[in-house]
Structures are given as C-alpha cells and as structure tokens.
C-alpha cells in the first residue's frame, strides 16, 4: 500500500485510449488509474486485448492517451509533442523488447552506444559507458560480436545493456523472456531484479507467464481496458 508521504514516480489518472473513428473505433483503455512508485518492479499481466500493451506504450511515451492525465516525476506529459516525448525517452526511459531488436550486423558495443550517440556523448565517453553497461550484464568479453554471433539470452542481455546505458529512471520490458527458454528466462529475470534492487531502476514488465511475474514486487492485472486488480508483495 502506498504510504501517505510517498509521491508516485508515475501516475495515470482516468487514462483512456481510443483507436480509429466511427464504426471501426475501438476503445482500448476505458479509464486506467495506476500509481507506480520509484524503485518498484511491476509486472503487467492480462489476456490479449486487455489494454496492457496500450498502457505500456503510453507509459513508454511512445503513444499519447485520448484523455486522462499522465504525470511523470511531477510533470504532466499527456499533451507532449512527438519530439518532446522522444527527448523524454532519451533521458529517462530504457526499452527492452521481446524480439531483442538489436541492429543487425552491428557489434554489441555499437548497439549499446546507440542511445549515447543520440545524447551527443563523445566517442570516449560512449565507449566507457557502453563497456560499463556490457560489464553489468556480464557481456564485456562479447563487445565486438554481432547479434548473429550471440545466443538469444546474450542478445537480450545486450538489449538490456542498451536500455540501462543512459541510466534511465524507468526500464520498460515488453515480454523480455517471450523468446527465451526457461533457463535463459531465469537469467534475464535475475538480471532485471538485480538492476532494480542495486541500481534503483524502476522496472515495468509485461509478461504472460506467472512464473516471471513472480519476480516482481507488484503485479497489475488488466481486463477489458481497465486495471482489474493489483497484487503487492510484502517487502
């Protein structure tokens, strides 16, 4: 339960999302209220079409709500433009995807350096920070390898290194273990748990698997475009 003195890192109030117009219109979110605390590890669950992906896209500043408010670190950002949202992603958010989404034929190091390039870091700083991030996920010796030369688990760890290299406040993971076997999945979950506990990164993760969700501190269940229930584990 949220204590009275705690200000949430992210707060969604009455968020709706409607796709399309007229007959073909589809109401994906019907008023989502959700507070996310700094340092939380939240799993988002729910059947397909329940609105969890739409919510994640909004939380990731990739999409905007049709109505309602979205407060991030005390700022209203539901009405930000395309470029402002991009700058927000660049500074505060890290993304991990189900399909890894690394640049092909590009070394792990260059992949991890990519966000730093857009932040305008110079060559030396890029290299130092990227190597540190790769070291954090245990892949420093693989820095020169391209994705094709890495296993699925290794690729996902490179993707995590890319997401955390900018030291974001929030890491958004969309089914990060969806393409991995259970052993690799556990490695990834342990890595995310470690980043959450020891680096203080707030982790938001969409998953289908209760086993993976069990690593999270908070589990949010979506149903029919609304938050159905929230489970919070005792610390």
């Amino acid at each position: 339960m949220i204590g009275p003195g705690q200000v949430p890192l992210i707060s969604l109030v009455g968020v709706t999302k409607r796709f399309g117009t007229g007959e073909a219109a589809f109401q994906a979110l019907k008023g989502v209220n959700l507070d996310i605390l700094r340092g939380d590890f939240m799993a988002v669950m729910g059947p397909s079409g329940s609105g969890k992906s739409t919510t994640m896209n909004i939380l990731g500043c990739l999409d905007v709500p049709s109505s309602g408010s979205f407060v991030f670190q005390g700022h209203h950002i539901e009405n930000l433009g395309r470029d402002q949202r991009a700058l927000l992603r660049r500074r505060h958010l890290g993304f991990v995807f189900q399909g890894f989404n690394l640049l092909a034929r590009t070394s792990a190091l260059e992949n991890v350096e990519l966000p730093l390039l857009y932040r305008g870091e110079d060559k030396r700083a890029r290299h130092t920070m990227a190597m540190a991030a790769l070291d954090k996920v245990g892949l420093a010796p693989w820095a020169r390898h391209t994705p094709a030369e890495l296993s699925g688990g290794q690729q996902q760890r490179v993707a995590i290194a890319r997401a955390i290299v900018t030291e974001p406040a929030v890491l958004l993971a969309d089914e990060p273990t969806g393409n991995l076997d259970s052993e690799r999945s556990i490695e990834i979950m342990e890595l995310l748990t470690d980043l959450n506990r020891n680096s203080g990164i707030t982790v938001l993760m969409v998953t289908h698997e209760p086993e993976m969700a069990s690593y999270a501190r908070t589990i949010v269940h979506f149903r029919d475009g609304m938050v159905d229930r929230i489970e919070r584990k005792a610390a």
């Binding site: 990739l62 991009a86 700058l87 993304f95 989404n101 590009t106 390039l117």
Partner: protein, 411 residues
C-alpha cells in the same frame, strides 16, 4: 552548447551513422550508386574528350597562320553552277588584291602540279607549289633550315626549292636535304631550305607534303602555262576577315566581268571560318552526347531514390528502434539524407576517377590533347551530391515520419 556546435554534432553523428549503414551493406550500396557512377563517368568523359577535340581544332588553326584566305576559281561544291570551266586567275588579279584591298598582310599567287619527287633511290608522290616568299608570309610558314628565295631568283624562275617536312622525312630520312638536287618529274632543282612542320589542315590534308618552287619555274617547266590556280591572302588579325573576303569578292567580280545577279565563278575559303565551323560542330556534338550522358545521371538519381525507399521499408524496425530509444524525427531524416548524399558523392568520386582514366586513355587513342577541366569535374561532383539531396529527401522524410510503435511491430 551553442546552436552551431549542436547542429555540427548532429551532422557528424548522422555522417557516422550513414557511413556505418553503408559499410554494413557494401554490395547494395555499390549497386545503388552504380547509376551515378556511370552517369558522372559518361558526362565527364564526353565533356573532357569534347574539350580535347575543340582544343585540337583550335591548335591546328593557329598552326595555319594568323588568318589565311584562299581564293580558288570555280564554285564551291554543292552550289551548282557547272557549265564551262571558269577562267584561272591572272598575275594582275594578285597585284590588284595586294594594292587595292586593306588589311591584307601578304598576297601570293600559287600554281600547283603533282609530281614524283626522286632523291637517290627514294621517290615520293607530292604536290609542287609554285609560289614566292609572300606565300610563306601569308601563312606564317617558317623556314627552319637554309634560306628563302631571293627576289632575283623569284624573278628569274630559278630551279631551286623548299621542301616540306613530310617530303623531307620520306626522301631524306635523317639526312639534311640542303644543297641536294631533287628530281621533280622531268626537271631537277636544288634544295635551298627546309620548311617548318604545320600539321594537318582544316580539311585533313597534310600541309607538309609539298615542295615549293618559284612560281615562274613551275609555270615554265612543269605546267607549261601561266595559269594561277589559287591566290593565297594573309589577313591582318586586326581586321574582320569577313570584310576582307567581301572586298576581294567585289574586286574579283569586277575584274572577271561578272554581271550583278550572276553567281561568283570563284570561291574564297577563310581558314578562320573553317575553324569556327569545325569548333562549333565539335561543341554541338559534345553538348548532344553530354546531354544523353546526363540522362543516365538522372536515371542514377532515380535508382538511388528507389533503393533508399526499399531500404527505408527494409529498415523499418531499425528506424523503430532508433525512434524508441529517443532519436528525434529530424535526426532520423538527416541520417537517411546524409546516407543518400554520401552514397551519391562516393558514386560521383568513383565516376570521376574512372572518367579521368578513360579520358587519358581515349585521348591517346584518338590522338587528341587531354584537357583536364577542374570546373567540369567539380560541377559533376557537386551535381552528384545534389542528386543525393533531391532523391534522398523523399525516402528520408518517410523514414522520419514512421510511427515507432508500428515500426517496431514491422516484420
């Protein structure tokens, strides 16, 4: 951070990303720019060869001497006429031109006959020109060894001659012709001088394949008549050769009793006019061929746009990743635009290098001077860059406007 350094950094970043993207797809990049390579290559080679040809024409004409008018009896081919052969010129015509026309530097009568020249065992079929020193003056034709005729020798019609370099080469090899006795048909003459090499004439004939004798000697001993087959007039470059040409025509019409309304029964060739005509033909041909070649540049540009559009579709996911991790729309756009420009500039450079090699080789093969024109090369290079901007813009804008969510979902 100032605005300038920020945008410099942005362009530097785009260039880095573009070069990486090109390196990742070397073969595809090469195929993309092949059109530009061929276009630049074709245009620059054609223009360079064309300039060489113009230069060659120009050089030949300046080799002919300042400006030479050649007056021949008869109408120019193609102008009809026909009928009885027009009368040859008389010595008085030559004097009249010299005395009555302004702006002429030298006027010379010429009698001409073909003869076999024999020296020792060697023989050579050549042209014997009966002329005098004015003939050399009119054409700026120098004597490189020995001497010219003296006034007395001209008046007496002595059996002496000057040999052109082609004749000297074929009859004397490396030996000096001076003082030797050369047989010309049935007569013999003493060689007193050797003439400078003048090269090809405006009609492709070899000007150096000639022997010059005093005109009286030729008339008396070779042609057996007093006919003058041509009048050679040197024109002062300060005067308009067209005016001189008209004055001579008017004078000759009067002297030859041609009634007004009748066509001239003689023709005046102007070396400058011939040169100008040749130069303008060469220039026109160069322009036409270059225009055809320029079309391939355009096609090359469309090729770049084509591949860039395919590339944007193919790299939709990559663009989605870039946008998701915080790339701004205009950063993605700039990356693709820079990629197109870098590609087309590299293509242009390759084309220039190939064109340089081909122009040097072809110039040698076609016996043309190689003229390296920095402006042509620079223009072609700048144009290839411009093509990159124009044809890269549309694909780049498409890339920048992608929705990151949909781009990431793209398979």
């Amino acid at each position: 951070m100032t605005g300038t350094s920020a945008s410099t950094r942005l362009i530097a970043t785009s260039a880095l990303l573009a070069v990486r993207a090109i390196r990742r797809h070397v073969l595809r990049s090469f195929l993309t720019v092949l059109g530009i390579v061929i276009g630049v290559f074709a245009v620059v080679t054609m223009v360079t060869l064309g300039k060489g040809a113009s230069r060659s024409v120009h050089d030949e004409v300046s080799g002919l001497g300042a400006n030479v008018l050649t007056v021949l009896p008869g109408t120019a081919p193609g102008r009809g006429g026909g009928g009885e052969a027009p009368p040859p010129f008389k010595l008085e015509d030559v004097d009249a031109i010299r005395d009555q026309i302004g702006g002429v530097t030298a006027v010379a009568a010429q009698a001409q006959v073909s003869a076999t020249a024999v020296f020792n065992a060697a023989n050579w079929q050549t042209t014997v020109n009966g002329a005098d020193n004015a003939y050399l003056d009119a054409q700026n034709w120098a004597v490189t060894a020995g001497r010219r005729f003296t006034g007395d020798e001209e008046k007496a019609g002595k059996s002496i001659c000057l040999v052109g370099s082609t004749v000297a080469k074929n009859l004397y090899a490396n030996q000096s012709p001076l003082g030797t006795t050369l047989r010309l048909g049935s007569i013999s003459c003493t060689v007193v001088g050797a003439l400078a090499t003048r090269g090809q004439g405006g009609f492709g004939q070899d000007n150096d394949d000639a022997v010059i004798m005093p005109i009286k000697a030729v008339q008396r001993r070779l042609t057996g008549n007093r006919e003058i087959r041509a009048i050679i007039v040197g024109a002062d470059p300060a005067y308009d050769s067209k005016d001189i040409q008209q004055s001579i025509a008017a004078l000759l019409r009067e002297r030859r009793n041609i009634r007004s309304g009748k066509l001239d029964d003689f023709t005046i060739f102007d070396s400058k006019q011939i040169a100008d005509t040749l130069a303008s033909i060469t220039g026109t041909l160069t322009a036409i061929v270059s225009a055809v070649a320029a079309i391939s540049l355009l096609v090359g540009g469309i090729g770049i746009m084509n591949i860039m559009l395919v590339s944007v579709t193919e790299r939709t996911r990559e663009i989605g990743i870039r946008l998701a991790i915080g790339a701004l729309g205009h950063e993605v756009m700039l990356q693709f635009l820079v990629e197109a420009v870098v590609l087309s500039c590299v293509g242009g450079l390759i084309g220039l290098v190939l064109a340089l090699g081909a122009s040097i080789g072809l110039s040698r093969l076609l016996d043309l001077p190689f003229v390296f024109d920095p402006l042509t090369n620079l223009t072609a290079f700048a144009f290839s860059g411009l093509i990159g901007v124009i044809f890269g813009y549309f694909p780049a804008r498409r890339a920048a406007s992608l929705n990151p969510i949909e781009a990431l979902r793209h398979e």
